[in-house]
Amino acid sequence: MELKFSKRNQILIVRIQGEIDHHTCEHMRVAVEHNFEKIRGKHMIFEMSGVDFMDSSGIGAMIGRYKVAKCMGGKVVIANPNERVEQIFRMSAMDRIISCYPNLEQAIQHLEGGK
């Protein structure tokens, strides 16, 4: 797994490349928390067009990040998940707290449009 971080106002944008499993989630958790604190972020967007595998560890990791963002009054949003990733998110009914958008622009719009 490779992670690329960028920010836009109070949004931490995380581009994930590769496989999301229990092993790589450990690494992701640490790196995301670190960068989120550094930019004093409020929201997180996970851009997933480069994700070629995800199992249920990905759900756990997203819910974990959701809790962190919620503490800051923020949200977590997924951009560009492939069909499989979206299917796994839907199965867990996680889409009720974390929305998926077909691209980064719409994800940003959603977060900046809301309060």
């Binding site: 496989e19 989630c25 990791a61 796994i88």
Partner: protein, 142 residues
């Protein structure tokens, strides 16, 4: 059962080996012209079961995990076993969203995904002796 091809692997219960098991099962399947979606189904189910053996079975302690792959009559058979902690209440463990380790950011969706992506699943477990998850899936092979 007599398998057309079979392969059993014992590996250290380390998270770095999760990807190895996916690679292994993908390569095992490759001879049988699976669809991309069948490969992903089986890979995901294996990943769930192997992760469970490592996290829940051995809880970070040393141990060996077994992964069996067998193929017979257009059907892929998978077994994942550990000699770890075991499961007390299998019915509850298999409920969607139930997890005994929310503090490790588990979602409780592992068994649900195995059930959704494979055709059949059977779990045999004895507390303190270990757990064996057996799954199968018929390939479409058009």
């Amino acid at each position: 059962m007599k398998y057309e091809n079979e392969c059993v692997t014992y590996f250290a219960a380390k998270s770095q080996n999760e990807s190895l098991t996916r690679v292994l099962v993908t390569s095992f399947l490759a001879t049988y012209d699976p669809t991309v979606s069948e490969i992903t189904d089986v890979k995901t189910a294996v990943s769930e079961a192997v992760t469970n053996a490592i996290i829940h079975g051995y809880e970070g302690q040393d141990g060996m995990v077994e992964l069996f792959c067998g193929y017979a009559e257009e059907t892929i058979y998978i077994e994942v076993a550990d000699k770890g902690k075991g499961i007390g209440d299998i019915t509850r463990a298999m409920e969607p969203l139930y997890t005994s380790k929310p503090e490790l950011e588990r979602s409780g969706m592992g068994f649900t995904i195995m059930e959704a992506f494979m055709e059949g699943i059977m779990v045999v477990s004895t507390p303190n002796l270990g757990t064996r998850v057996s799954m199968y899936k018929k390939l479409s092979r058009e």
